[in-house]
Structure formats: structure tokens, C-alpha cells
Amino acid sequence: MRFHAQVVVRLKPGLLDPQGKAVEGSLPAMGWRNVSNVRVGKQIEFELEAPDERAAAAQVNDMAARLLSNPVIEVYAVELRTASAIPTDGA
């Protein structure tokens, strides 16, 4: 089966996020003065072939823990869908 995976990587809650701070600092200049606690993370998407959803989830979690995120400073969340549900270009 083909799966579409989305891994969202965030800086751990306790850690200072310099990027988030910079974004937060620039928002009031554009008139948005009611925003706080901005955090910048990253989203990684890919497709993979696996026998079933359990196997796919196990692999994606392993990938997220060992390469896509650094457990020292980051946390991650995984979302899996069967790829057929995703409209692809030229399909």
C-alpha cells in the first residue's frame, strides 16, 4: 500500500525559539498587536510503500525519531493517510 506521511517537527516547549521571537517582534509593526507565543517549526512530507498502516506508522516514527527530528531539542507528530486519497499532479 502507498501512504502519504506528514511529519511536523516542533522545538520543545521549554526552549527559546529565536525564529519565533523574530516573527513575533515583526507582527506589531504590521498592525497585529494581539499575537503572542509564536513558534516556528517545520513540516516534512513524503510518500512510502508499506504492507499496512501499522508498518508504515512504525517506520515513519522511527524515521522521525532518528533523522527528521533531534530528540534533544525537538518533538514531532506524525500523520498518515493512504496515498490514493491524495489527488496528485497528472493523475
Partner: protein, 235 residues
């Protein structure tokens, strides 16, 4: 120094300071051996340097991809056997990603690349680059990085501090450690750390750019001299 230790300097795609490291090692009486990231052996060297630069374009996270380079398996084995390993700047980031050193390095607090001379204070003589140096000693060295802010989870930071794993802190010319001299906002103004065994060390400043009196301060000399004698003592 009675011998000429052979120091392997690893070149990853995107390494910048590998040649300077080889030159600095030679100028301090060692012999620099160039090692390619695809190599699967370390050519029998006595010590290893992971140099500065932007390996793999700093993609994903600094050092995240380099840590999986073929040569890194051998570096890990070398480190596990007690071999001296020094990571400078990007090399420090790679060692943290590989789990060979505690903590991680993230974007500088001020969000700007910083390139200038700073002072660092020696915190322990129990590391391959501070053997023979006295805690409290201040050394002038350059930094040049965008992601040098040392961070760690609370419990890790506590362990690093309590077990004396901090090797260097950013400081003023007189050794004062305060926020003003903390060039990138690192926790505890930490500029360099070592592992528990004491043979692996990483730092953001560049000792290899500070050995030649013709081009500036020479705070890198005592660190590299220490590294070479540490390597020699094991031979």
C-alpha cells in the same frame, strides 16, 4: 613533544575549514591527514578533527546529515575506544547530532551570523584541548557561525554543569562571564563541552584560525598543543 602525532581531518561535502585545520596541526608540530567522508577507515590516525563549515548545506539541521556519513561509524568506534576527537563549529554540531556530545546547537539568539574575535574561559583541564591549561585562563579565538547557541534540556544541562563537562565559556577579556559577552545566547554561556569519558570535545570557536601571530591572536595555540600532546600520550 617527542613525536609527531597523526591527526585525521575529515572533509564532508560543504566543509570549509579542513585545510586550515591541517595547516594548524602542522604548524603546531603534528601531521595532518586528510580523510574523506566516504572513507571507511581512519588510516590509523592518533586523533580526529571534524572541521568547521556547512556540511550538506546545513539542510534539515546543522550536522544532521553529516552524522550519517560512512566515516562517522568509524569515528564513533574510535571515540568509543578512547581516541581523541575534536569537533570545531560544524564539527561540534555533528558530534551533538551523533549523540557523542550532550546538547544541541540552534540559531543564535540574535538571529544574526556572528563573525569576530571573542574570549573564552577555560573551565576544566580535563579535556583533550585543555590538558595543561588552568581553569580560569582566558584565550582569544574567533567565532563565525549562525547556529551556535548551545541548548540542552534542563536535566541534561544540570548534568553537564554538575559533572564538569563544560570546557569553555564565552567571557570578557578579564574572564568575566556575563550576558553581554555571551556571543550567541548559549545556555550558561557555554562555548565548548566534552563527553563523560573526557576524550571527545566540541567547541564553536575556531582554534585552527588562531595559531599564526601574523594574522591575529593566537588563543588556538594552547588548545591545539594540548590536543596533540593528548593524542601523543595515548600512542
Amino acid at each position: 613533544m617527542s613525536g609527531r602525532p597523526r591527526v585525521g581531518v575529515i572533509t564532508f561535502p560543504g566543509s570549509l575549514d579542513d585545510r586550515d585545520a591541517v595547516r594548524a596541526v602542522a604548524s603546531m608540530g603534528g601531521s595532518g591527514v586528510r580523510i574523506w567522508h566516504r572513507d571507511r577507515d581512519l588510516d590509523g590516525v592518533d586523533a580526529v578533527i571534524l572541521p568547521g563549515g556547512f556540511s550538506y548545506g546545513d539542510y534539515l539541521r546543522t550536522g544532521a546529515i553529516a552524522r550519517f556519513a560512512p566515516v562517522m561509524e568509524e569515528v564513533r568506534r574510535f571515540a568509543d575506544r578512547g581516541g581523541p576527537v575534536l569537533g570545531i563549529c560544524n564539527g561540534f554540531q555533528i558530534l551533538c547530532e551523533a549523540g557523542l556530545l550532550p546538547g544541541a546547537l540552534i540559531r543564535n539568539r540574535q538571529l544574526r551570523f556572528v563573525c569576530r574575535f571573542v574570549h573564552v574561559r577555560v573551565e576544566t583541564s580535563r579535556s583533550p584541548i585543555t590538558t595543561g591549561l588552568v581553569p580560569g585562563e582566558v584565550l582569544p579565538v574567533p567565532v563565525k557561525h549562525g547556529e551556535g547557541q548551545f541548548v540542552a534540556a534542563d536535566e541534561d544541562l544540570e548534568r553537564v554543569e554538575q559533572e564538569g563537562l563544560v570546557v569553555l565559556r564565552y567571557c570578557g577579556p578579564d574572564g568575566t562571564v556575563d550576558d553581554r559577552h555571551n556571543v550567541n545566547g548559549s545556555l550558561g554561556a557555554i562555548a565548548g563541552v566534552r563527553n563523560e569519558a573526557g576524550n571527545v570535545v566540541g567547541l564553536m570557536p575556531h582554534p585552527e584560525h588562531a595559531v599564526d601571530p601574523d594574522v591575529g591572536p593566537t588563543g588556538g595555540q594552547p588548545m591545539l598543543a594540548s590536543f596533540l600532546s593528548y593524542a601523543l600520550a595515548r600512542v
